[in-house]
């Protein structure tokens, strides 16, 4: 089966700084693919290149068998993302924001779809609230809602549970697993919560200074580095000069 995402020798240089340095990986259908690494390792730049927001210096990105550079519109209509670092228009209500996103992606039966997502992410109580008045946890749920609203085939999640309390974060992980199970959704996932990465990811790549320095399942990586858990691996790799 053709992988959903195929990245080959992807490199991004900003003048004399190399943010991403010749990385290659594939994401299969229905897979949760973890990307680990310290701050500045190239995780966010990689996601931005996958979303077509940053042009790679070299290398190729293919999704659904199509080249991102030449089939941007076709690919991005099947992709969505959520990040702690983005927001939604503050002056709009939650419902207005979701309606806007649904229309942008040309969805049919918008009301039913919004009802479903609001229910899944337990957003009923703030559905008609202006986005400006949401708590950070509620805002994170809104950005996740907009990400799953469009029924993407692959989701890029950049630290999606960073601002959530443990209860909501656990529920979100449950929702993502359930959406994956029921739709075959693939997910690229970054987080600084190592327990979460172990729990969520089928496979992981570890980025450091733009390069992949380790890859495999969480267990394979832990065994390879002779550590107790992923957190210890993270500390060992992140502190290596």
């Amino acid at each position: 089966m053709t992988p959903i995402v195929e990245v080959e020798n992807l490199t991004k240089r900003f003048e004399d700084f190399t943010a991403v340095d010749g990385i290659s990986f594939q994401i299969r259908q229905g897979e949760i693919f973890g990307v680990l690494g310290p701050n500045g390792a190239g995780k966010t730049t990689t996601i931005q290149m996958l979303l077509g927001l940053v042009t790679p210096t070299s290398g190729s990105i293919r999704m659904f068998g199509l080249d991102l550079e030449t089939h941007r519109e076709q690919i991005l209509s099947q992709v969505n993302f959520s990040s702690t670092y983005i927001s939604m228009p503050f002056a709009l209500t939650v419902e207005e924001n979701l309606r806007f996103v649904a229309r942008l992606y040309g969805m049919a039966d918008i009301k039913r779809r919004i009802d479903d997502v609001v229910k899944i992410l337990e957003m009923e109580e703030f559905r008609n609230k202006v986005t400006r008045k949401l708590s950070s946890g509620q805002l994170t749920r809104l950005t996740l809602a907009k990400a799953i609203l469009t029924e993407p085939k692959i989701l890029f999640l950049d630290e999606p549970t960073a601002s959530l309390d443990p209860d909501i974060a656990d529920k979100i992980r449950g929702v993502l697993k359930e959406v994956r199970r029921s739709t075959g959704l693939s997910i690229l996932y970054t987080s600084h919560n190592m327990k979460e990465m172990e729990e969520m990811s089928d496979r992981i790549i570890f980025l450091q200074r733009g390069k992949i320095v380790a890859q495999g399942t969480a267990q394979e990586i832990i065994e390879r580095f002779g550590q107790q858990d992923l957190e210890e691996v993270f500390l060992k790799l992140a502190r290596e000069k």
Binding site: V54, I86, S87, F100, R103, G106
Partner: protein
């Protein structure tokens, strides 16, 4: 180009006006205030009617038409700024939305703004100064359309500069259009300008519109030469600015600055 994406963006901007007083002021209060101030100046100048023929149309008509250009520019630039302020650019450009669809949506928003502002000003001019801009007749339509396109051109140019230079260039959204005002000959004829500046004004489509407007007010037939110049220059400049916008968009993607605008 997909209409549903353009409509989505238009609806997203219309939502903003539902509960935002400052945004409503932009449409109703400021144009109204402009008209009142300039209206009273015009009333004063009417005492010299004999020396300046058609003084009311010269000033009030020119003011209303200048606002058409100004709001057309603002419709594009402020729509882009709204996305920066909302940190929404990443959501937009990581979606299937094309830069050309984004521009088409902002142009549609600018038409809505121009329409709303024009209605306010035309009604206020009628009520306060008994001035009916439609006395200019059908020639008003090509004049106004050309000014809308000239406003779009300045709007797309300003948006490209903001995209390229980030938040520090935001002030251009309000200031850029006034750079063109002296050579647009809004309130005075082109021959008032120094000789060396006239070719510059001649290369400005808005100047042809205002020259044309004055000719019509003075009873001359619709000056086709001015209209042709205005339309030709508008098509050329707008096409050039749209191409430059796409180029800037690609440069920003290459430098990684598209996702950092507003930070």
């Amino acid at each position: 180009m997909k209409l549903h994406r353009i409509n989505a963006l238009i609806a997203r901007h219309l939502y903003l006006y539902r509960r935002s007083l400052p945004r409503l002021m932009e449409i109703f209060y400021w144009p109204f205030l402009d008209l009142v101030v300039w209206g009273f100046i015009t009333v004063y100048l009417m005492k010299f009617q004999g020396q300046i023929p058609g003084v009311v149309t010269f000033f009030l008509g020119a003011l209303i038409l200048w606002d058409v250009l100004f709001r057309a520019q603002q419709g594009i630039t402020i729509s882009f700024l709204e996305e920066i302020w909302a940190r929404n650019l990443m959501n937009l450009f990581a979606s299937p939305l094309k830069p050309s669809e984004f521009l088409a949506a902002t142009m549609a928003i600018s038409i809505l703004k121009v329409s709303a502002v024009s209605i306010v000003m035309i009604v206020a001019a009628l009520l306060f100064y008994d001035y009916n801009i439609f006395k200019m007749g059908l020639s008003l339509i090509p004049f106004a359309l050309n000014l809308v396109v000239a406003g779009w051109t300045i709007g797309v140019m300003t948006t490209s500069l903001i995209m390229r230079f980030g938040q520090e260039a935001e002030v251009l959204a309000w200031g850029m259009v006034f750079l063109f005002q002296p050579i647009s000959c809004v309130f005075y004829p082109m021959d008032v300008l120094p000789v060396w500046l006239r070719p510059v004004a001649w290369a400005n489509p808005a100047a042809h519109v205002f020259e044309g407007m004055r000719a019509v007010v003075q009873g001359a037939p619709l000056p086709l030469l001015h209209l042709e110049w205005a339309a030709g220059l508008n098509v050329f400049y707008l096409a050039a600015m749209i191409a430059w916008f796409h180029h800037t968009f690609n440069v920003c993607k290459d430098r990684g600055s598209l996702v950092r605008i507003g930070e």
